[in-house]
């Protein structure tokens, strides 16, 4: 089946495109406009990298993770697991510009400084809006990409362009679950006759993700409460607050989540991965008994691979990261939240056509949900 045709009919027309950019930066045909993936022209390649790497094309996730992770580390609820940590950057200046504890910024700076990676694929936003993929090569550049955006940019397009140049030998990638899944598809299911040098991806750091939001809708919503150009931070506190917090010029405004939910990208409701299960390390906002005021300056980190474990231990040993005890219920709460997202995805997909859609090749993973 022609690749552009396959992606259009099986992903775009079914509202499954996350806008990750995995199909872009490879050829002249695919592009992104305001968070929407567009195809300028049909191409005649039958098994192109665009459809091979797309995280929403039918994929046997179970087979893919068995290729990438030791089976004994895999937990059904949250994927590969070697440990759960609560961490934050020791450097206060990193924390000041971070979404939560600044753990990812600190880790990527360290990985670049220590030569564990020679480039990092990050996301840089204007405030928190209109984000774009950014490839940085110096530790000093990482902080310009601190903080999160709820608009998902096609940052993997920048990764594909960097890989195509074959200049870097160990690129670190930071991304949401859809992006890290695409990266693992690139690494473990490449097209040898059309190589994109995915072996040069050296580290993957996943970001916990509930959903991304429509670009235009988000800009319009933000404009109702603040000057979009002045917004410095957005966050979604634990569910009991039912709000989106927008901070601009030092003032934080709480927006009822009911105004935000309609802006959730339909594709995100079909996503079964909250914790970025395909990664060396996965990082999200902390949840503990200390309450939101304390937790919002900490991260929780799931260690998934030996490489991730070594980087985290190095960061702690060098005093780059601070740790605190994980509450006993921490892992169970994480599993419960993760299962909640999987159930929503299964329900959403079944409502479309009665099948599990792109999850069908690994349907046994979801049959009890």
């Amino acid at each position: 089946m022609f690749s552009t045709f396959a992606l259009d009919t099986q992903v775009l027309q079914r509202d499954l495109c996350t806008g990750c950019g995995a199909c872009q930066g490879l050829c002249p045909y695919w592009d992104s406009v305001h968070g929407r993936t567009v195809c300028y022209f049909d191409c005649e390649r039958l098994d192109g990298r665009c459809q091979r790497f797309c995280p929403r094309m039918p994929t046997d996730l179970d087979a893919l993770r068995r290729k990438a992770f030791p089976e004994e580390t895999i937990l059904p609820e949250i994927g590969p697991f070697r440990g759960l940590y609560l961490t934050r950057a020791a450097d206060e200046t990193i924390r000041a510009g971070a979404q939560h504890g600044g753990t990812v910024t600190a880790l990527m700076e360290l990985a670049l400084r220590e030569g564990l990676i020679d480039a990092a694929l990050l996301t840089r936003a204007q405030g928190t809006l209109d984000p774009a993929g950014a490839l940085v090569t110096k530790a000093e550049e990482v902080r310009s990409c601190s903080g999160s955006s709820f608009q998902i940019p096609p940052s993997l397009a920048a990764l594909n362009r960097a890989l195509r140049e074959d200049r870097y030998r160990s690129i670190g990638v930071v991304g949401t679950p859809c992006k890290t899944l695409a990266v693992y598809k690139m690494r473990h299911d490449p097209l040898p006759e059309n190589d994109n040098h995915a072996g040069n991806i050296g580290l993957v750091v996943g970001l916990f993700c509930g959903w991304g939001l429509d670009w235009d809708g988000m800009r319009e919503l933000t404009g109702r409460y603040a000057d979009p150009a002045a917004v410095s931070h957005m966050d979604i506190p634990p569910s009991k607050y039912h709000s989106l917090e927008i901070t601009a010029e030092g003032k934080t405004t709480s927006v009822n989540l009911d105004e935000v939910i309609p802006l959730v990208r339909p594709a995100c409701r079909a996503c079964a991965d909250m914790t970025a299960e395909f990664a060396d390390l996965s990082v999200g906002g902390a949840r503990s008994a200390d309450g939101w005021d304390v937790d919002k300056k900490w991260n929780q980190v799931v260690v998934r691979t030996k490489k991730g474990q070594e980087l985290l231990e190095l960061a702690i040993a060098k005093g780059v990261l601070e740790c605190k005890d994980v509450p006993e219920s921490g892992l169970d709460k994480l599993k419960k939240a993760s299962l909640g997202k999987k159930r929503t995805a299964v329900r959403t997909l079944r409502e479309k056509d009665g099948t599990l859609g792109y999850l069908e090749p690994c349907g046994q993973m979801f049959q009890d949900l």
């Binding site: 089946m1 045709f5 099986q10 027309q13 005649e44």
Partner: protein, 86 residues
């Protein structure tokens, strides 16, 4: 065994349908003959395009190039305006 696809053609003006079973490797350009044989459209020159899922199909392509390996049927719109296929 030769793969067969059940094709439902949609007429561009009357919205009538024509259902036929065709070999999966039939060329898109050969579909004209099928339509003429069934008197579904009047023969025209120099030919019609066909639209599958919003995509104009290439006359030299085969039907199965527009289908998933599992697909057993497809709906094809006959393009409404006669045009030169290049």
């Amino acid at each position: 065994m030769e793969r067969t696809i059940r094709v439902r053609f949609l007429h561009p003006e009357t919205r009538e349908t024509l259902m036929v079973d065709l070999p999966a490797d039939i060329r898109i350009g050969a579909l004209n003959g099928v339509l003429y044989d069934h008197s579904f459209v009047y023969p025209q020159k120099p030919g019609y395009g066909f639209v599958i899922c919003g995509h104009l199909c290439g006359a030299g392509h085969t039907l199965e190039q527009y289908l998933t390996p599992q697909a057993g049927e497809v709906e094809i719109q006959v393009f409404g305006m006669p045009q030169i296929m290049v």
